[in-house]
């Protein structure tokens, strides 16, 4: 029983960080209709930027974190202008392939600059483990979950109540109408990418703090696709709930079926969901018209 609780708790906690990556993906999909296969690489680049700012330039962790957020926002701006704007209106396949191309560039760039070694970036959060009765929880995992949860709640409130958030939602649901109502949709698209980059960076820094920093970090985002499909691609809430569920399932599978199961369980879930309920738990069911 204790074992079960421990696995589930760890799974839920790691699902919290996964929710951040999923949030980054869903932001872009909802906001611009682009399917971002580079989500893992954005996360990785963010983490490397943090590492560079903190270790190479010797900034204190918090300041380095802010600097890396700024840098990734700048990068997102460039990407939006150079790659995604010219491709707007193109079929989904083109945009998807463009993000795969971006992923390849970022991956290669990171390896060219930093090499394939694993680094340990300076911790952003305290590392002391926490005991819950007999269950031991690593401090970083709990801290990561707390940060993710705060950020996600912040985002939900931002989208619900702030004027900018409402404008972003309007652009997402109907760009043409939004433009006629005076919303600057180019700005909205830029802001969406910047926010997604920022969220990805937070996730990257958190994960690299607990798991170390190497180009393999980008692969951590792959199982997020399972969460996105499960939750419904265009639902923020769905992404979060589904991430927690996937985290739980992954952790239980790894605990009871061995570490190898972790590699395939998310994908089995994906195939199952796609056959049974393709629009996910919370996604919108689209009706196609001619």
């Amino acid at each position: 029983m204790i074992e079960f609780l421990e696995y589930s708790l760890l799974g839920l906690l790691s699902g919290g960080v996964m929710a951040l990556i999923a949030l980054s993906f869903v932001l872009v999909y909802k906001g611009t209709g682009a399917v971002n296969f580079a989500v893992g690489e954005i996360m990785m680049v963010g983490a490397y930027l943090y590492y560079a700012a903190a270790s190479t330039f010797g900034l204190p962790p918090l300041l380095a974190f802010v600097v890396s957020l700024g840098a990734i926002a700048l990068l997102a701006l460039v990407v939006e202008r150079a790659v995604l704007r010219p491709l707007s209106g193109q079929p989904t396949v083109s945009v998807m392939m463009a993000t795969i191309g971006m992923a390849s560039i970022m991956h290669g760039g990171v390896e060219a600059i930093w090499g394939g070694d694993t680094y340990a970036p300076p911790p952003l959060l305290p590392r002391s483990p926490v005991f819950l009765g007999e269950i031991l929880i690593p401090g970083t995992v709990l801290g990561n979950f707390a940060v993710s949860a705060l950020l996600i709640i912040g985002f939900l409130l931002f989208f619900r109540y702030s004027k900018t958030g409402v404008a972003l939602r309007a652009t997402a649901s109907d760009p043409v109408t939004a433009a006629t109502l005076g919303i600057n949709i180019h700005f909205a698209s830029r802001l969406t990418w910047m926010l997604a980059g920022g969220v990805g960076t937070v996730a990257g820094v958190l994960i690299s703090n607990s798991a170390g920093l190497s180009p393999a970090l980008a692969a951590a985002a792959l199982s997020v696709f399972a969460a996105i499909i499960l939750g419904g691609m265009d639902s923020v809430l769905g992404a979060i709930v589904a991430s927690l569920m996937i985290g739980l399932v992954e952790s239980l599978a790894a605990g009871y079926l061995g570490g190898k199961a972790r590699d395939i369980v998310p994908y089995l879930v994906v195939l199952l969901i796609l056959v049974i309920r393709p629009y996910g738990i919370f996604g919108t069911r689209t009706i196609e018209r001619l």
Partner: protein, 346 residues
């Protein structure tokens, strides 16, 4: 339109190589390829073999993605299925002209299974479904040790034709390019049958296609099956060519490589598959050669060249998507047009 070419029957206009000039060029190309092993260097011959295998696989993906509009990220895994089938059957002494079709058919059967979600989902959902299928298949490659040899990989016996073992690049070259010719012509002809036209109808607007009487599920599954068949055969030939294989070869990057080849070459055209495969194989090679040249003067260069290959790869994909969405085929056509009207300008 080329000047000075007249047709008296529709049939002659419908021919695959419909002008004398084209027929001459094809003859020259065939002659060049037939004699290539005799005059080329060893390096060039090996490159030609690898390119041939890539062309086979790209032809298949171009049918699935370019003609039928279904994104497949599991193409690399289908190559693996073909390769391991050939390895398994080859060890039991089955000759290559039996193993290769079986490899193709098995991959096609798996393609149908992977394509099943396309019944309910499309576009990006389908891409993610094939991504999931890719990971499941590569998991099987790694874990099903008794057939695939696990992580250590497996070896593939030489292909043999009536007791004569096809060993070395020299013999394999003819095997590969014989298949390339056959399957390229098959792909070109498929595109102008009912099936090929149904693919294009489904790609352009699937609901309209259904209303016009195209059976959506069958067509989509056919597209997956045929694409996977090409991949399976390509994988089998790959096995015969390399002689040994590990599961790492069939990574996600391989699938992406083929998608990139389809995009840079040109969606929905056989010429595009060929050009794309040649181009995508040569670019990293060229980069590597340049790096080798530069390594003498800058010793540190070699360590960043491999990652730079990835960067160039990404830049190529994005560059083609943004500036030349119809790929190298469009460039080729433009050059052709200049010559058609020469010395006049278009």
């Amino acid at each position: 339109m080329r000047t000075g070419v007249f047709y008296e029957q529709y049939l002659s206009e419908e021919r695959m190589w419909n002008t004398p000039v084209k027929r001459w060029w094809v003859a020259v190309l065939v002659l060049l390829l037939l004699t290539l092993p005799f005059w080329s260097t060893k390096y060039l011959l090996a490159m030609a073999c690898i390119i041939g295998i890539h062309i086979l696989a790209t032809l298949g993906l171009n049918l699935t993605t370019g003609n039928a509009g279904l994104i497949s990220l599991s193409h690399g895994a289908f190559l693996g299925v073909g390769c391991y089938t050939v390895a398994y059957l080859g060890k039991m002494g089955v000759p290559f002209f039996v193993t290769l079709p079986i490899a193709g058919l098995l991959a096609a059967a798996l393609g149908v299974v992977v394509g099943l979600p396309s019944l309910r989902v499309k576009g990006i959902y389908l891409a993610i479904a094939t991504l999931a299928a890719h990971f499941l298949l590569t998991f099987v490659f790694r874990e099903w040790g008794s057939v695939t040899g696990g992580i250590q990989g497996t070896s593939i016996p030489k292909a043999s034709l009536f007791g004569y073992a096809l060993s070395g690049d020299f013999d394999n070259f003819y095997l590969i390019y014989g298949l390339v010719f056959l399957m390229a012509v098959a792909a070109r002809n498929l595109a102008r049958t009912y099936i090929g036209r149904a693919f294009i109808a489904v790609r352009d607007r699937d609901i309209s296609a259904e209303i016009l009487g195209v059976h959506l599920l069958t067509t989509k599954l056919q597209a997956f099956a045929i694409g996977a068949f090409y991949a399976g055969v390509a994988g089998g030939v790959l096995g015969y060519f390399y002689g040994a294989i590990t599961p790492e070869y069939f990574s996600l990057n391989l699938s992406i490589f083929y998608l990139a080849a389809v995009i840079t070459g040109g969606l929905g055209s056989v010429l595009g598959s060929v050009l794309g495969a040649v181009f995508m194989t040569f670019v990293p090679e060229l980069l590597r050669l340049l790096a080798n040249l530069g390594a003498q003067s800058f010793p540190g260069l070699a360590s960043i060249v491999l990652p730079m290959g990835q960067v160039v790869f990404g830049l190529l994909i994005i560059g083609f998507l943004v500036f030349e969405p119809h790929g190298l085929t469009a460039v080729w056509r433009r050059i052709q047009r200049v010559f058609h009207l020469w010395p006049f300008k278009t």
